[in-house]
Amino acid sequence: MIVENVGVRYRVRNRLFSHSYFDALSGVSFEVNEGETLGVIGRNGCGKSTLLKVLAGIYAPDSGRVIRDGKKVSLLALGVGFDLDLSGEDNALLSAMFLGFSYSEAKSRIGAIREFSELGSFFDEPMKTYSTGMRSRLGFAVAITMHSDVLLIDEVLSVGDAQFRVKAETAISDRVSSRQTVVLVSHSGVQVEKMCQRVIWLEGGRILKEGDPKVIVPEYEKFIQTGKVA
């Protein structure tokens, strides 16, 4: 996947016929190689989430382009299109189809989703009977079971109780260490240094530095503490 000179400009509506502009991203170019885990770090509001939305095709860039070569790129999102009046199974089916899978593909993964979610008989109950933890467990089960070619992960996910969180983190790091292409966005340097082969540091909507996490992450941490770029 190649990102070429991407810019995103938000239009902020002040009053009737009065607008101001805000550049969330400008001139961002990089490549995501197949099978690698690319980290994106930066402070809050530096454009990380906007970048992920552009990669996922949710936002169209205002300038530049993203070349996907027909690959399926999707955001690891919890509870896509969930309806509380429907059962866990119906929601899993719908959610998988929203992620771009056909009916038969979605149907064939239901068993795996049921198993991963550990919901037991609750899987057939309406989702309004679920606790918050159970909802996010189902959401995570769908997201991790329905593979796409490039997986985009935003921050660390908080899912369910401690035991399930361990399982979720293991599933993510399995994904990261496998041949799966992953773009991981985080404001925590530690996680990125542990998981990524390459890292991009975003600041004010531009790429500040790019390269080996072992070099970039300590610089980033120092910047966070002192507010100065080395």
Binding site: A77, L93, M97
Partner: protein, 258 residues
């Protein structure tokens, strides 16, 4: 990223089915309400117009329902569509989906319920003592043409409201105007001046209501020219609106968050 056409159609079908299922699960009598709601309307109108007011006009209840049922179908589709893209904001910001999905779900969900209502209405007409007639075979054609009109207006509203949220209030006013301007409570032939009738019939809903009445009450074949003309104009606008919506598809994700 683009949806494959087949996956999109499958998703649409599943979503409509699931929405109906969810809607049914919210009440004790579940899907019986799709029959009960129109049935109650019929009872109220029957009591008010045939018993209390004892209106002189023959078959006034049937006349009224011929107007009210198609209009309510139209009105519900349009008003449900006015907020449909905005209420999909969460979804729009998690995945890529062609935005035409949202109005289409509403349109087909409302179609399903309208079909039940129309079937029930026809049963009522027979029980009321009006004979079944061969011209009723034209009803599916009328329903299809109305579906086109509904879809055209509904997609237009769904497409425009996210850009100018204030229009939402005008939509309900416009629907109220339509209600009084479509000849639901009166026959345009009795009320309007001769020279105004042609203008009145340019309103596609008024025209379709007239056609429903010709078929169901007068047992005449509908005005095929009018039907064809309405379909052609609708299809043209439907294509135009779908194209505009498609061209602007990527703008909605940011628009719904503003």
């Amino acid at each position: 990223m683009r949806f494959e056409a087949r996956s999109f159609v499958e998703l649409l079908a599943v979503k409509v089915r699931m929405n109906l299922k969810a809607e049914a699960s919210r009440t004790y009598l579940s899907f019986l309400w799709w029959l009960l709601e129109p049935a109650l309307l019929v009872i109220v109108l029957y009591v008010v117009f045939s018993v209390f007011l004892n209106r002189g006009t023959e078959h006034f209840v049937v006349f009224l329902l011929c107007g009210l049922i198609p209009f309510q179908w139209f009105s519900k589709s349009v008003s449900n569509c006015s907020m449909c893209i905005r209420s999909g904001a969460g979804l729009i910001n998690q995945i890529y989906i062609p935005k035409v999905f949202f109005p289409l779900v509403v349109i087909f969900q409302d179609l399903f319920k309208a079909l039940i209502t129309i079937a029930l209405f026809l049963v009522f007409v027979i029980l009321y003592g009006m004979p079944l007639h061969l011209t009723w075979l034209a009803i599916p054609a009328l329903v299809l043409v109305q579906l086109l009109v509904n879809a055209t207006v509904a997609i237009f509203v769904a497409m425009v409201v996210p850009f100018i949220p204030d229009l939402r209030f005008l939509v309900s006013t416009a629907l109220l105007l339509m209600m009084y301007g479509s000849g639901i409570f009166y026959s345009y032939k009795d009320v309007l001046l001769e020279e105004h009738q042609a203008i009145f019939l340019m309103n596609p809903i008024a025209n379709i209501i007239r056609l429903y009445r010709e078929v169901i009450i007068d047992n005449a074949w509908p005005d095929w020219t009018a039907l064809l003309l309405i379909s052609l104009v609708s299809v043209c606008f439907l294509c135009l609106f779908s194209w505009i919506l498609h061209r602007n598809d990527s703008r909605y994700a940011r628009l719904v968050l503003e």
